[in-house]
C-alpha cells in the first residue's frame, strides 16, 4: 500500500507543480533575454482569419488586404478620409487629351525591401504579369484593375506610360487599390516562381518577417523607407477566429486593436476602458425586385412596396446604430453622391391603396441565412423584418432561406419576386457600384434591370474625365434608379474596430485596409 500512496503523492505534487507553473493571473506580455519583439514597441492587431496569401495579384480577401497594405505600395493611394486618390509611388501624372495614355512620374531613390531599385521597369513587370499572355485565371482582380490596359511603356527609369484600349476614368482609382495594383519586387517574383504569397517584398513602411500559419504574421519597420518612417517598430497580425475570444484578448491586453466586432460586444469593450472605432463602410445592403417578370416588371408596384417599408426605423432596430440608413446606393463619402438623392418616401397608406388596386396580395422572397459584411443581422432577420412591414399593407410574403452558396444558385435561377444582396466596393469609384444595375449577368444584376438610358449614362461616366461633370452623371444615375426603384437600398454597414486607450492615430480605411505607419503606442 505504501508504494501506491507514494505514487499518489508523486502525482499530486506533479499536478501542483503544473498548476503553479501555469499560475494565476493570466498571461503577461514581454520577453526577457530574447531577440523577439517587446510589448512596448509592438502593435498587435487581431483579426478573425488568416490571409489567403501576400501576393497582391493572387489574392482577393480582406484579411490579406490589411497585411499587404503595410508591406506594399501602388502608384497611387487613397486619401485617409475618402476614396479620392493621391500620389504614392507616382509623384505626379498626366493624362492625354484622348484619355488613352497615362504618364506617371515616379518617386526617385525608392528601394524594395530586398535592396533592389524601384523604377519604371518594376512597374512594367508588375502590370505585364497581369496582362495577357502572362495573366493566369486565378488572378482575381487582374482584369478588373487592368482590363482597359493595352500596354505599358518604360519612357525612362522614372517615367512609365500606360496606354489604354479605351478611355476609362476609374483607372486611377484602380491603381490605388490593394488588389492587383501594388508593386512587388521583380526580383522576388523571379526568385519565387511568380508567387510571393509566402515571401512578400514591397516598398512599404513595414517589412515581412515571418508567418506562423494559423497563428500570426510578424512585420518589422522598414529602416530604408522613402517616406515618413513608421512610428511603431513591430506589427503583429494575430488570428483569433472566435469573435468573443478576440474581445477578451483586447480586454486582457493580448491585442492592441481588434476588428470584426458587432454591436453586441460594444458595451463589454467600452466597460473595460477600451475605445471603439467606427469606420464608414464602402458597401450597400439592399433588396432587389425581380424586374424581369410580374409583378415587378411594373415600376408602380415596385415603388409601392418600397413605400411600405420604413427604412430608417428598420435599420435602427436591426443594426442599433452601427449601420447607416441608405438614402442612395452610393456611400456618402463617394464622388457622385449628393444629399439631394432620396428613395421613395415612406407612406404605408398610399402603398396599401396602390397594392390593393393592383390586387397584389402575395409575394415570394428569397434570402440568405448567414450574416454578411454589409448585413450583420443575417439575411433571415432582414427578410423577416420586411415581411412584417409588408403584412401591414396587406401583402403576405413567403420567405425561402438558404445558406450562402445555395442562395447564389437560387439567384441565378431567378425564381423570386424579392431578393437580398449587397455589394462591397473595390476601388472607391462610383461606377463600381452603379454598374451593377447595367450588366447582363444575373448574379451581379439580381434585379435583372435593363434600362437603355441608364446603360448609356453608365458608358458615358466611364469615359468622362474626373470632375464635377462626371459626378453629375452619377448623381443623375442615382436619381434615375430611385425613381425606377429596381432596388430598395437599405443600409451602409460601418466597420467596427476596438482599440486600447494607449493606441493613437489608428484608422480603418473604408476600402478595408489598415495602414499602421502612423499609429503610435504610448
Amino acid at each position: 500500500m505504501r508504494k501506491v500512496k507514494k505514487i499518489m503523492a508523486l502525482a499530486l505534487s506533479a499536478t501542483l507543480i503544473l498548476v503553479s507553473l501555469t499560475g494565476c493571473g493570466g498571461s503577461k506580455t514581454g520577453a526577457e533575454g530574447n531577440t523577439a519583439p517587446k510589448a512596448s514597441d509592438t502593435l498587435i492587431y487581431a483579426q478573425g482569419a488568416e490571409p489567403r496569401g501576400l501576393d497582391p495579384a493572387l489574392v482577393d480577401d480582406g484579411e490579406s488586404a490589411k497585411v499587404m497594405s503595410n508591406i506594399y505600395e501602388g502608384l497611387l493611394k487613397y486619401n485617409k478620409d475618402s476614396t479620392k486618390v493621391e500620389p504614392s509611388l507616382a509623384k505626379s501624372w498626366d493624362v492625354s487629351p484622348d484619355g488613352l495614355s497615362y504618364t506617371f512620374h515616379l518617386q526617385q531613390g525608392v528601394k524594395f525591401h530586398d535592396g533592389t531599385d524601384f523604377n519604371a521597369e518594376a512597374v512594367k513587370f508588375n502590370i505585364d504579369r497581369q496582362l495577357p499572355p502572362q495573366v493566369t485565371a486565378d488572378m482575381a482582380y487582374a482584369s478588373f484593375v487592368y482590363g482597359s490596359v493595352k500596354n505599358v511603356e518604360v519612357v525612362d527609369p522614372n517615367t512609365v506610360k500606360i496606354n489604354l484600349t479605351s478611355p476609362s476614368t476609374p483607372l486611377l482609382n484602380n491603381l490605388a487599390m490593394i488588389m492587383a495594383a501594388p508593386i512587388v519586387s521583380p526580383k522576388a517574383l523571379k526568385d519565387n516562381n511568380n508567387n510571393v504569397n509566402q515571401a512578400p517584398v514591397g516598398t512599404g513602411p513595414y517589412k515581412f518577417v515571418k508567418w506562423e500559419k494559423d497563428q500570426n504574421i510578424v512585420l518589422v519597420s522598414n529602416d530604408g523607407y522613402w517616406g515618413t518612417k513608421a512610428l511603431t517598430k513591430n506589427v503583429i497580425f494575430k488570428f483569433i477566429k472566435d469573435n468573443s475570444a478576440r474581445v477578451v484578448a483586447l480586454n486582457n491586453g493580448e491585442a492592441d486593436i481588434i476588428d470584426g466586432i458587432d454591436a453586441t460586444v460594444v458595451k463589454q469593450i467600452t466597460d473595460s476602458g477600451n475605445k471603439i472605432f467606427q469606420a464608414p463602410g464602402m458597401n450597400i445592403n439592399y433588396m432587389a425586385y425581380n424586374t424581369s417578370k410580374k409583378p415587378f416588371n411594373d415600376q408602380k408596384l415596385r415603388a409601392a412596396i418600397s413605400q411600405a417599408i420604413n427604412v430608417p426605423e428598420l435599420v435602427k432596430s436591426l443594426y442599433q446604430g452601427y449601420s447607416e440608413p441608405a438614402t442612395a446606393i452610393l456611400p456618402t463619402f463617394m464622388e457622385g453622391y449628393d444629399k439631394s438623392i432620396s428613395q421613395v418616401a415612406y407612406d404605408p397608406t398610399a402603398a396599401a391603396k396602390t397594392l390593393k388596386d393592383a390586387g397584389l396580395t402575395s409575394l415570394h422572397m428569397i434570402t440568405y441565412t448567414n450574416p454578411r459584411p454589409y448585413n450583420s443581422a443575417t439575411g433571415q432577420s432582414l427578410a423577416e423584418a420586411i415581411q412584417g412591414y409588408l403584412s401591414k399593407v396587406g401583402v403576405q410574403v413567403t420567405i425561402d432561406s438558404f445558406d450562402w452558396t445555395t442562395y447564389k444558385e437560387k439567384l441565378k435561377a431567378g425564381n423570386y419576386d424579392l431578393a437580398f444582396y449587397g455589394w462591397i466596393g473595390d476601388n472607391g469609384d462610383p461606377d463600381n457600384f452603379l454598374y451593377l444595375l447595367s450588366v447582363d449577368d444575373p448574379t451581379m444584376n439580381i434585379a435583372r434591370y435593363k434600362n437603355d438610358q441608364f446603360n448609356s449614362l453608365i458608358a458615358k461616366g466611364l469615359t468622362t474625365p474626373a470632375g464635377a461633370d462626371r459626378n453629375g452623371i452619377y448623381t443623375q444615375l442615382e436619381k434615375l434608379s430611385a425613381t425606377d426603384a429596381a432596388w430598395l437600398p437599405i443600409s451602409h454597414a460601418e466597420t467596427l474596430c476596438a482599440y486600447r486607450p494607449n493606441v493613437e492615430n489608428f484608422y480603418f480605411h473604408m476600402t478595408g485596409i489598415t495602414p499602421f505607419a502612423g499609429v503610435a503606442k504610448k
Partner: protein, 310 residues
C-alpha cells in the same frame, strides 16, 4: 463454449442438440441479468424518458399543436440573451428563442439521427459481414480490405468529408454517420460466422441436411445477436455524439431547426457573455449519450457468461 472435436459425428449431433440455445431464451437470460444492474436500469429509464419527449414533440408537430412552452423556432430579438428565469427555464439564445423548448425539440432530432444512422450501419454491415464470412475466399478478402480502408481514416474526418461531398442537412448527416460505422458490424458478423463455421456440430447439421437458414438461426444467430445488440446500443451513443460534432461544425441540421450540437456551435461567440447558452445543450447531449452507454454497458455485462456465473 468449447465443443470437443470428435470424429464421431453422431456424438457431435448429440452435443449440438444439447448445446444450441434458442435465440429467444438467450435474450430472456440477458434481460434478467440486466434488470439487476442498477446503472443499466437508470440508463433505460432515461432513454425511455427521452423517447417519450421525442415522440411527444413529434406527435404534437404532426398534429399542428404546440405542446412545448414556446415555439422553438420563434425568434424575438427583444427577448435575446435572457438568463435562466421563471418564464424561460434555460434562458433565451441570441435570437430570443426559448432554450428549454429548443432543447426538448432537439431530442427528437438527436434520437432520430442516432437510431437511423445505426440502422444503416447495422444493415449494411451485417449484410457485408455475412457475405464475407459465409463466402470466404476472395470475396471475404475484398470486403475486409475495404473495411480496413474505411477504418484507416479517422471517423470524424471521413464523416466530414462525406458531408462536404453530399451537402449539409439532416438526411446527409445520417448517411455520413451511418457509413462510417459499417466496418464494425461487418467485422462482428464475419467473426461470428467464421468461428462457428468450422465447428463440427455445424458441419454435422449440414450433413444431416439442415438448410442454411436453420443453421444460421440456431447456431450463428445466438452468438451474433447479443453482441450486435450491445454494439448497436453503444453505436447510438456515438452516433449522437457524431451528430452533435457535425452540428457544432455547422455541417448538420440547417437552421432554424434545433439541434444540440448546432446550438453549441452558434453560441460559441457568447462564451463569455452568456455561458448559459452553451451549458444546457451540452448537458442534454451528455445525458443522452450517458444513458445509452449505461444501457450498453449493462447489456455487455449481461451477455458475458462470466458475469452470469456470478
Amino acid at each position: 463454449m468449447k465443443v470437443k472435436n470428435s470424429s464421431n459425428w453422431s456424438e457431435s449431433l448429440v452435443q449440438a442438440a444439447e448445446y444450441v440455445e434458442r435465440p429467444e431464451s438467450q435474450l430472456k437470460v440477458m434481460w434478467e441479468t440486466l434488470r439487476q444492474n442498477k446503472a443499466a436500469v437508470v440508463g433505460l429509464i432515461i432513454i425511455g424518458l427521452l423517447v417519450l419527449i421525442a415522440l411527444t414533440v413529434w406527435g404534437s408537430e404532426l398534429m399542428g399543436k404546440q405542446i412545448l412552452p414556446y415555439d422553438p423556432n420563434y425568434s424575438d430579438m427583444s427577448e435575446s440573451f435572457i438568463p435562466p428565469n421563471a418564464s424561460h427555464w434555460f434562458g433565451t439564445d441570441q435570437l430570443g428563442r426559448d432554450m428549454f423548448s429548443r432543447i426538448l425539440a432537439g431530442t427528437k432530432i438527436s434520437l432520430f439521427v442516432g437510431v437511423a444512422a445505426v440502422a444503416i450501419s447495422l444493415t449494411v454491415g451485417v449484410i457485408l459481414g455475412a457475405i464475407a464470412g459465409y463466402r470466404g475466399g476472395k470475396t471475404d478478402t475484398f470486403i475486409m480490405r475495404l473495411m480496413d480502408m474505411m477504418l484507416a481514416i479517422p471517423s470524424i474526418l471521413l464523416a466530414i468529408a462525406f458531408m462536404a461531398a453530399l451537402g449539409k442537412g439532416l438526411d446527409k448527416a445520417i448517411i455520413a454517420i451511418g457509413l462510417v460505422s459499417i466496418p464494425e458490424y461487418a467485422r462482428i458478423v464475419r467473426g461470428s460466422i467464421l468461428s462457428v463455421k468450422e465447428n463440427d456440430f455445424v458441419q454435422a447439421a449440414k450433413v444431416i441436411g439442415n438448410r442454411s437458414s436453420r443453421i444460421i438461426y440456431k447456431h450463428i444467430l445466438p452468438n451474433v445477436i447479443s453482441v450486435i445488440v450491445v454494439r448497436a446500443t453503444l453505436g447510438i451513443s456515438s452516433a449522437v455524439l457524431d451528430t452533435a460534432a457535425l452540428g457544432f461544425l455547422g455541417l448538420g441540421v440547417q437552421p432554424p431547426f434545433a439541434e444540440w450540437g448546432d446550438m453549441l456551435g452558434r453560441a460559441r461567440g457568447f462564451i463569455f457573455t452568456a455561458p448559459y447558452t452553451l451549458i444546457f445543450p451540452g448537458i442534454a447531449i451528455t445525458i443522452t449519450v450517458l444513458a445509452f452507454n449505461l444501457l450498453g454497458d449493462g447489456l455487455r455485462d449481461a451477455i458475458d457468461p462470466k458475469s452470469r456465473i456470478k
